[in-house]
């Protein structure tokens, strides 16, 4: 994609033909209720609280954060599985919020999801052919007159499964193969965008690489755009072009893969990166270790001002009073939501040549 980062982050409101997904200040509050018969709303869990980004054609946006930061809710919002409390989500220029079910169904042909758990996301009583073909029951027009069985076998072939296994059941496959079934299902309607919600975290290491490579191959082959939600920062670095870091429902830092991993400016990103174990014992003493104190506060009652201030070593009075906006900060070239944003090299990328072996 283009390397003009300033334009990637601050596009004009007009519809850029290359932008497939535009998310503007989207919020999702889940009400907290009390009482049995007469339920009163006593507060809200602010799962996603004002997130904006664009996704361009052929691009992968990695969304990282710890559990409870709202990244999966964001994925569900993008899919239209939850309707946003506020804000707008535009897919290929069409507003998704407030659509009627029929219209939503038509729009959803262009956005599909791959779920985390390949064991519970496939119906054990359906054959692989039924699972991968189910989207065609809802959208028969997507077959475009092709023979259904042939289409399904081609799909299985594309994701690296044996097309002859079309009549098998999910339990006859291993974890990695099931995830391929899930991917084939997501691909069947030829979507433009695929939301991947922790697609490799349930897989074993040796199988994970197979699936990650498959995602990359499919992107090249079909020009797909991915929103890749994961907690594993190593996988995200590998696959993403741009990365959004979330904390308690907010995006705290957004930039190119290089910028986020090379020169992170938000203290949370820095702490997150420093906590990732590197499979190289020589790095033991040489890495900056920022060990955060305490736990993530409750999203029902987030701290005032900056949400990270309760665990931040840079926090001052202003952090409690004024919420830092996600904007380009001095001394840096990407978006960061910290009053004291300052680039800091956390991960020392080895200047390694193309060959992997030492």
């Amino acid at each position: 994609m283009t390397t003009d980062t300033a334009q990637v982050q601050q596009p004009t409101p007009g519809d850029d033909p290359d932008t497939v997904l535009t998310v503007r200040d989207v919020k999702k509050y889940f009400p907290l209720r009390q009482g049995i018969v007469f339920q009163r709303t006593i507060g809200h869990v602010k799962a996603v609280d004002g997130v904006s980004f664009e996704l361009r054609k052929g691009e992968t946006l990695g969304v990282v954060g710890e559990s409870g930061c709202g990244k999966s809710t964001l994925g569900r919002l993008l899919m239209g599985l939850e309707s946003p409390t506020e804000g707008s989500i535009k897919l290929l220029g069409h507003e998704m919020a407030g659509l009627k079910p029929g219209e939503m169904r038509r729009l959803r042909r262009d956005i599909q999801i791959v779920l985390q758990d390949p064991y519970s996301s496939l119906d054990p009583r359906m054959t692989v052919g039924d699972i991968v073909g189910e989207p065609f029951d809802i959208h028969p027009e997507a077959l475009e007159g092709r023979e259904r069985r042939k289409v399904l076998q081609d799909l299985l072939d594309v994701v690296g499964l044996n097309p002859d296994h079309i009549n098998r059941y999910p339990h006859q496959f291993s974890g990695g193969q099931r995830q391929r079934i899930g991917i084939a299902r997501a691909l069947s309607l030829k979507p433009k965008v695929i939301v991947c919600d922790e697609p490799v975290s349930a897989l074993d290491v040796s199988v994970q690489a197979q699936v990650v490579n498959l995602f990359e191959r499919l992107q090249d082959e079909f020009g797909l755009s991915y929103v890749f939600i994961a907690h594993d920062l190593s996988v995200v670095r590998h696959i993403a072009d741009r990365v959004m870091v979330m904390y308690l429902g907010k995006a705290v830092e957004l930039g190119d893969e290089d910028q986020i991993y090379g020169t992170p400016t938000h203290p949370y990103t820095q702490a997150l990166l420093s906590a990732v174990p590197v499979p190289d014992p020589r790095m033991k003493g040489r890495r900056d270790h920022i060990v955060l104190q305490g736990d993530v506060p409750s999203p029902a009652n987030p701290p005032s001002g900056c949400r990270f201030r309760t665990r931040c070593w840079k926090a001052e009075d202003i952090c409690a009073e004024e919420e830092p906006l996600l904007q380009i900060r001095e001394g840096s070239d990407h978006l960061s939501a910290c009053h004291f944003a300052k680039p800091r090299e956390i991960i020392h990328t080895e200047a390694e040549p193309e060959g992997q072996d030492a």
Partner: protein, 350 residues
């Protein structure tokens, strides 16, 4: 810490372990040719097939492997908490300070389990009893094993919670497990494991369920406490990053076999087994930009009817005809290492 009349490290005066001849000069733990089988409907599954290693005090051994490779079963066999049946220990020895635990009387073993070897499990929420307070569960070991009364035991429980860094331990001791966060629960598990001052801790995927920042906290706590108390630590994990950070030596397991054993620096620098090498090449790294990942083809073998020869040969890029017939023994490799590959020289040389 207030010392009560019961001396913790030696166990209470009435400890049945007093009669056991632990040899303090023998290695802390020696596992020799351990074999564990599971009897299933389809036949006998060799979950652990002749694993050997040893560990001394203050040392950390990382057991690395994918799900189903037998790493947890090994841990459970050492602890003596395998369900038998379906499991059966088919052979081998587990010597703690020179005494074989596998032939030990179950009553005695129970005391070993508490006072000498302790275990930390992956899922702290399901390892803690939801209907008792954390303090009560923590105090239980003092009551049962040291004959402490309730009051004493509770004081000890608070001390332990303090030790593992739980803020306001005095108040939290009366809380139930669900009132703790994931990281805090894992701290409670660590406190529980350390409460009787064991010499050896087995941690089975202790941080897998945790977020990275919390994982860093818990691993640091574990490493600090290990240093302080000179514990032996067996860390079982699938995460090649976590072991690289804390382990002194590593044992890589594949389909029930230990395929490579080496010092942590050696194994990351020049792996001597194709499986280890392929694993290292197949993981994305946070300190490296995206190049295509090297893939290990296929799947781990079924344990019931494993392929003949080397179990890794169907997925191995170094495999030759010999690998399909000959089961490779654990060859010694210079530098005090071992590799179960006929062609380890080639693997290291390339």
């Amino acid at each position: 810490m207030t010392e009560t009349k019961t001396d913790v490290s030696a166990g209470p005066a009435k400890s049945p372990l007093r009669g056991v001849a632990f040899d303090e000069s023998a290695p802390l733990l020696e596992v020799e040719d351990l074999k564990v089988e599971f009897h299933t409907r389809d036949g006998i599954a060799k979950a652990v097939n002749g694993v050997s290693f040893s560990l001394s005090e203050g040392e950390t051994l990382g057991i690395l492997g994918e799900s189903g490779c037998g790493k947890s079963v090994t841990a459970q066999a050492i602890m003596g908490i395998l369900d038998t049946p379906p499991a059966r220990i088919a052979g081998g020895q587990v010597r703690f300070r020179g005494v074989d635990l596998l032939t030990m009387d179950e009553k005695l073993r129970r005391h070993v389990r508490a006072n000498k070897i302790a275990m930390i499990f992956q899922d702290a929420l399901s390892s803690l009893n939801p209907v008792f307070t954390v303090g009560w569960q923590l105090a239980e070991s003092f009551r049962v094993h040291q004959g402490a009364d309730r009051k004493q035991a509770k004081v000890r429980a608070v001390e332990m919670l303090d030790l593992v860094g739980i803020p306001a331990a005095k108040n939290r001791v009366n809380d139930y497990p669900h009132q703790f966060s994931g990281g805090m629960r894992q701290r409670v598990m660590i406190a529980m494991a350390l409460s009787l001052k064991p010499d050896l801790i087995i941690a089975d995927e202790p941080t897998t369920a945790l977020d990275v920042t919390v994982q860093a906290q818990v691993m640091q706590l574990l490493a600090d406490l290990q240093q302080e108390m000179k514990l032996g630590l067996i860390l079982i994990t699938h995460d090649m990053g976590v072991v690289a950070d804390v382990a002194d030596k590593i044992c890589v397991m594949y389909a029930g076999n230990a395929v490579e054993q080496a010092d942590v620096y050696q194994i990351y620098e020049t792996p001597a087994h194709p499986y280890t090498k392929a694993l290292l090449e197949s993981i994305p790294r946070v300190d490296q930009k995206g190049q295509e990942l090297t893939v290990i083809k296929g799947l781990p073998p079924a344990l019931v009817n494993p392929p003949p020869g080397c179990l890794f040969h169907p997925r191995c890029t170094y495999a030759q005809d010999r690998c399909k017939v000959d089961v490779p023994p654990l060859y010694p490799v210079p530098g005090g290492r071992a590799s179960a590959c006929h062609y380890w020289e080639e693997v290291m040389g390339k």
